[in-house]
Assembly symmetry: C2
Homo-oligomer: 546 residues x 2
Amino acid sequence: MEKVLNFTEYDVNGDAAYTLRRAIAAAKEAGATRLTVPKGVYDIRPDYCSERYLCISNHGFNGPKRIAALIEDMSDFEIDFGGSTLVCHGVITPIAVLRSRNIRIRNLTLRNSSTMMLEARVTGHGSDDTVELQPVNGREAFVLKQGRLYAQYLEQTLVPVSTNVEFTGEGGEIAAGTADNTFDVGAEAVTYEDLPDGRMLAHGVRRKPPIGNILVISAARRLGAGMFCEESTGITAENITVNACYGMGFIAQMCGDIHLDRFSTLREEGRMHTSDADATHFVNCSGRITVENCTFEGQLDDALNIHGMYTRIVGKGEKELFVRQMHEEATGIRIYRPGDRVQALEPAPLIPYATLTVRTVEYLNNEIIRLTFEESVEEIAVGDDIENITQEADLLFRNNIVRNNRARGMLIANRGRTVIEDCYFHTSGTAVKFESDGDYWFESGGTGDVTIRRCTFDRCKHGGWGRGVIECQPRRAVLPDRYFHHCIRVEDNEFRMYQECAALMDNVETFVFTGNRILSAPGKRTEVIVRNNRNCTLQPDVVRAD
Amino acid sequence: MEKVLNFTEYDVNGDAAYTLRRAIAAAKEAGATRLTVPKGVYDIRPDYCSERYLCISNHGFNGPKRIAALIEDMSDFEIDFGGSTLVCHGVITPIAVLRSRNIRIRNLTLRNSSTMMLEARVTGHGSDDTVELQPVNGREAFVLKQGRLYAQYLEQTLVPVSTNVEFTGEGGEIAAGTADNTFDVGAEAVTYEDLPDGRMLAHGVRRKPPIGNILVISAARRLGAGMFCEESTGITAENITVNACYGMGFIAQMCGDIHLDRFSTLREEGRMHTSDADATHFVNCSGRITVENCTFEGQLDDALNIHGMYTRIVGKGEKELFVRQMHEEATGIRIYRPGDRVQALEPAPLIPYATLTVRTVEYLNNEIIRLTFEESVEEIAVGDDIENITQEADLLFRNNIVRNNRARGMLIANRGRTVIEDCYFHTSGTAVKFESDGDYWFESGGTGDVTIRRCTFDRCKHGGWGRGVIECQPRRAVLPDRYFHHCIRVEDNEFRMYQECAALMDNVETFVFTGNRILSAPGKRTEVIVRNNRNCTLQPDVVRAD
């Protein structure tokens, strides 16, 4: 039986966050199936937001987070925002779904009114090492001290500018060959000056970006996300647009069965960037993940990243291992449960050599976890990595557009089945990267079975960030007849090449590259690099290289 | 029946923090009454520390905190460290007591090996605006960027130097008249340079501190504390020495019956400063607080601060108020419980005009709290403050030495009975301040009954920070025949005056200043200023002023 509540009835003080809070609490109390919000533009201020202590993977800054719509320990519940816009003022994560089941969020635009990004148009070149900039938005989030630009938060704590991304004024593409360093000097070497007319002067640049281009100057810290989901199953986000947010647009960790349909990062009028980081991100998720009918543009990192987490063995005892969450942005993510199956691997090849069953889990703190096992750990070596293989997801990414974003299109480290089909990629870096490493990010997931078909790769990798349109991160070591990536098929796609390398495959057991339409870049051949491979089938019109 | 466990038996990997953790867990499991630690110097690293999400009052930085000895939900338990030293490497709170009863910690020295402080000796004066400094300790915690000194933490987040305290090389007093600004220019205006021989050059100074004096250059953030107690009753800390720690030496919030006996902040050989902030601090505590036989020196804030918290009314409904924790460092401290009695006050005079009983408490987040009441709130005005008067403590501070610290000796905002007796104060600022305000810090507590007797005030207030040896923070407004401070008696003390003002009393109903031995400063009279007072008794040899 459907039971529907209306947002408006819970408004007591005109504060949209408080109204959301009351309405969701009432829905929980009454076992309502749906909350409807009348179409409108709602200002969300931190004051009446909910708050939870969150550790958001790949974000860092574990701690209390303000949340506009908090869905917690609920099931079979939908919020239909009816086409509304939530404009969040301050460090706010607009939506969080925690320990819930069958939750649907629909028909919503999200926006943080200011993050830690400064967009500025290039208006002139000095005869010396200077460039004139006209701030377009975000200037208010920065302070200038001794010529350095800082974003400020938490009691005068300063975050220096670290990257600087350039978009073309016409078209809004990442400017060719610029990557994270458009001035061709480190961010530390550039100083800024406010001019009396409101423009700024950047000093110390080596490359002068073309007049009219837009720079996104970032001191961003991932203090929140657009929509954060944890330990929940059956999540649908439908017709949601993220204009701007701290951190990622959507991130789910330890979740199952996720459906993003028309969940897009889209530019607000007059802005080049959307989410501060990845558009979507999935960590230690399981079941079926479907991402379809989305447009991802202007996000300042990949459109999608899926992975698990390697933890490093730092100590052992009798049937007991101490493992560490190695990357700061992985701390506090509680990925182990009693009964989980884990594999041990050497960090260089990342090929599992033992499988164990977890008996007990003790989180000593956000970094070190004590695991006991059913089996002996005698053959397991301190210094190796452990991966939890209990979670395994099938990823379907179809009918999506990925364009004009910083970095890559997709980072795939997925042990389940992956299908990428009928998508358009115009990414500044590699379009699809098989990422994973056991040394720095510790993002885990030996590739299972991947099909990439009927996609268009349109001048990908014109900005930087990688070598091939599709590529594998090489392992530091390979083992004979053992492969990190099992099967990758690239079939019936169109490659409109910007450079030579269509694919760089390394450590793939079976690689198939057939039926693709290749439009080589002017004056260049198109090559496919294949290394450390068992079975390889390549169509004839590409050059196989090593 | 006493049941004693020995620390050594729980050592499995040579890590002292993990051994502590295991031993305390075993004690909890076995209902042991005591844990003994053999005398030794134990290095504590963050790796195997416990961790809790803590909001520590007057510290800020709510979030996960590593803890070496975590006592949680325990009762009737003692740890006797047997004269050991815990040397904490990294951001660690050595001891935390949460939700426990009858806990005793004994015979211990605590030290964080590095905080966010740089101690440097003045070795020379340039002919221009420079001063040469020889770093003595803490240099490794700082980075130099564009001439500015920053402490660094959390992914390249920078904390600029904010204060700069000066100690005399001989005697280790705060240098006369220097307060927080020894260079006589703002911290922002001073730049630093590393010299090849390991010294540093400070540029842009207006006053040159005498050669041989020691500067403590601070970019300190209160990321932890020495010993933190929350929601616990019956806490004894006995024979504990804090050499150095992040934040305060001891802080208790929402605790009752606390006994500090020989709990001291003492200088390690070759260092001028001890705790980064107050030596001891009590927030919303109740019962009996006894601090005796302690020496507090070198701490970079007051020796003791006791107060409650005003929260500001930001909204109201039917029998309902929304109140806000106003100071950032008060957020997350959960001071209200159903059944609590609270008073409403206007922020300027801080005289209560209504008393209410809390029915329900809902923490919307770390800042805003929804309180419902048994009574009508019709006469309560938005914009006024609310104080919880349920907690009320009697403070006995006796036989203590307070010397050579930054700022004041004691900040008293205590509604219960306060006795300060047989103490020696050689503080750089006011020795005893009756603090409280409803506008900035929001530290609450109209003075009840105070006796200060048989103490020696030795050249207090030579550094700055205040006007009188004993003084009241004035209210912004007074009400006829209503007083913020009820009764303050200053009897049989010795005042060795550095300046004129022995006491500045404002808004005290009954003030008695008798039997004190006054040794006036050379060429100066000694005066007592009394304003807005009902009953005043002054000994004849001081000058009464307004």
